[in-house]
């Protein structure tokens, strides 16, 4: 994905400790200009400044995965990302819906009852989108290992795994169809 023009514009810029500065975030396909302090995390920018509360604050220390979002299609932790450094295109759970239709992983999580309290779910789903984009998981063991950054305190792991396996299998079947 192309670097947004603002990354080039902001290169070499200096923000003093006292001042807020205008940061342009590219969230779910929309440019959002915010006045932020350098120490505002992407997570707090999303939740407190943009009312995008789908992304959850769990541990706030990079240990639970609840805050997982996608930047340029890669899953990252928004709690350990400074908003001022977030140059790429950010996709949150709110941005996965396309024209009113749930993302296949969102639908699969519902179909498989892949959550109880739901707090970790947005992070689980964004992480699973990243996992599928990466294309490195080819077995249940590999899915488990590569989803290990997302903790589910309710223990919905078997159904989370089933959801991801189903979406991966459907995607594989579709690409097989195209190949014929």
């Amino acid at each position: 994905m192309a670097q947004p023009a603002s990354a080039e514009r902001r290169r070499g810029e200096q923000f003093p400790a006292s001042a807020k500065t205008t940061v342009t975030l590219h969230i779910n396909g929309v440019d959002r200009n915010l006045a932020l302090a350098p120490w505002t995390t992407l997570l707090d920018a999303l939740r407190l400044h943009l009312d995008l509360t789908g992304t959850k604050k769990g541990c706030d220390h990079g240990q639970c995965g609840a805050c997982t979002v996608l930047i340029d299609g890669r899953r990252v932790l928004s709690c350990l990302t400074l908003a001022v450094m977030a140059d790429g295109a950010v996709t949150t759970i709110e941005g996965l819906v396309q024209e009113g239709t749930l993302h296949p992983l969102q639908q699969a999580f519902i179909d498989h009852d892949a959550f109880q309290c739901g707090y970790c779910t947005p992070g689980q789903i964004c992480s699973a989108v990243g996992l599928i984009n990466e294309g490195k998981a080819h077995s249940a063991d590999e899915i488990r290992e590569l989803m290990s950054g997302n903790i589910c305190r309710c223990g919905a792991y078997p159904n989370i795994l089933a959801s991801i396996e189903e979406v991966m299998a459907k995607a594989a079947a579709r690409s097989g169809d195209k190949g014929r």
């Binding site: 899953r75 350990l80 992480s127 590999e142 290992e145």
Partner: protein
């Protein structure tokens, strides 16, 4: 988190110039630094964002090795075709560490500079010679299950937490750094320090220096290697003990050997005496046991971590056997064979 100023470095020279400010810190992946700032363990007056420097390439070197830019993300490195095929020990060690999200963020240079996860270091309400020099070390007589058994001092028994660095130590990597005096190359064994009486200093990198790259020599031990990481849960946990092995075996005899341990010392623990002992020896359990005894000859437990000595001994023997068989530890199938 304390308030800080933020600057984007435009090139390496600019970054070095900005680093003259003693309160400034470089930030790239931020996976450790931002966390330490949230805990008030580190309170920089300025962050120098180096993520726009052109240090994100993996390139061939003239002597047949690879040069890895300091900003190459851990996941990109682990899945790089050259690393997967020529240096699978490094790929395996990277994939044994952290989580996919953290590996997508964390950089090669930053991995070297991550701080210990000693909970006394992290807890600003307790003394810690690494965080507050001279305040004392509560770990020595405290809860020290995760702590060091080799190379400790009366000041500090913290361990270096990296998996990637254990493989880099075994592979005899070099660290390229640039400072006010220009570029230099540091042998991996000389990069990290033992605590001694200055546990507050983790590495021999100078304050004005920035890591620009890691260089791997041509030899990757791609046939006989393993990275065996033993931890409290199956994934996403720091090691209790980890072992990186690279061997060259001809006709059942070890012709060359590399052996490094993680989570046992203040730095990745490579033991050249044990490697020398293995070289020329038959690839048998007896040779592996002698090497393990040699590595642990001066090991010392501090109570809660006494078990690490026996765990390391068994782990070394198992890792050498895995490497000799050509059956490296899988990082997704967790059964240790």
């Amino acid at each position: 988190m304390n308030n800080f100023a933020y600057t984007r470095a435009t090139d390496v020279a600019d970054a070095v110039r900005l680093a003259a400010d003693a309160g400034a810190k470089f930030v790239a992946g931020g996976t450790n630094l931002i966390d330490l700032m949230k805990e008030d363990v580190v309170r920089p007056s300025r962050l120098i964002d180096i993520t726009h420097l052109p240090l994100d390439k993996v390139e061939d070197t003239a002597d047949g090795g690879l040069r890895i830019g300091a900003l190459v993300r851990n996941s990109d490195l682990a899945y790089h075709p050259q690393i997967e095929t020529r240096y699978p020990l490094l790929a395996s060690a990277i994939l044994a560490g952290a989580s996919p999200q953290l590996r997508n963020m964390a950089t090669t240079g930053g991995n070297l500079l991550q701080r210990t996860r000693c909970f006394y270091f992290y807890d600003t309400t307790t003394p810690c010679n690494k965080r507050a020099p001279g305040s004392g070390c509560p770990a020595i007589a405290g809860i020290n299950r995760m702590h060091a058994i080799l190379g400790t001092s009366e000041q500090c028994i913290a361990v270096h937490p990296s998996d990637m660095c254990v493989a880099l130590a075994a592979l005899d990597a070099r660290v390229l750094a640039t400072g006010r005096d220009g570029p230099r190359s540091i042998a991996f064994a000389d990069f990290h320090r033992l605590p001694g009486d200055r546990p507050d200093i983790d590495t021999n990198l100078r304050a004005d220096e920035i890591i620009t790259a890691i260089e791997l020599p041509a030899k990757g031990f791609a046939k006989n290697y393993t990275y065996l990481k033993i931890r409290d849960r199956l994934s996403y946990a720091f090691a209790l003990v980890s072992i990186a092995v690279g061997l060259v075996i001809e006709g059942g005899t070890i012709r060359e050997s590399r052996l490094a341990l993680g989570a046992v010392a203040h730095k990745p623990w490579r033991d050249r005496a044990a490697e020398a002992q293995l070289t020329g020896a038959p690839a048998t359990p007896e040779s592996f046991a002698r090497a393990a005894d040699s590595v642990l000859r001066d090991a010392r437990g501090y109570g809660h971590n006494d078990f690490k000595i026996d765990l390391a001994r068994r782990g070394i023997v198992r890792a050498l056997a895995q490497a000799a068989r050509g059956t490296p530890q899988s990082q997704s199938d967790k059964r240790i064979k």
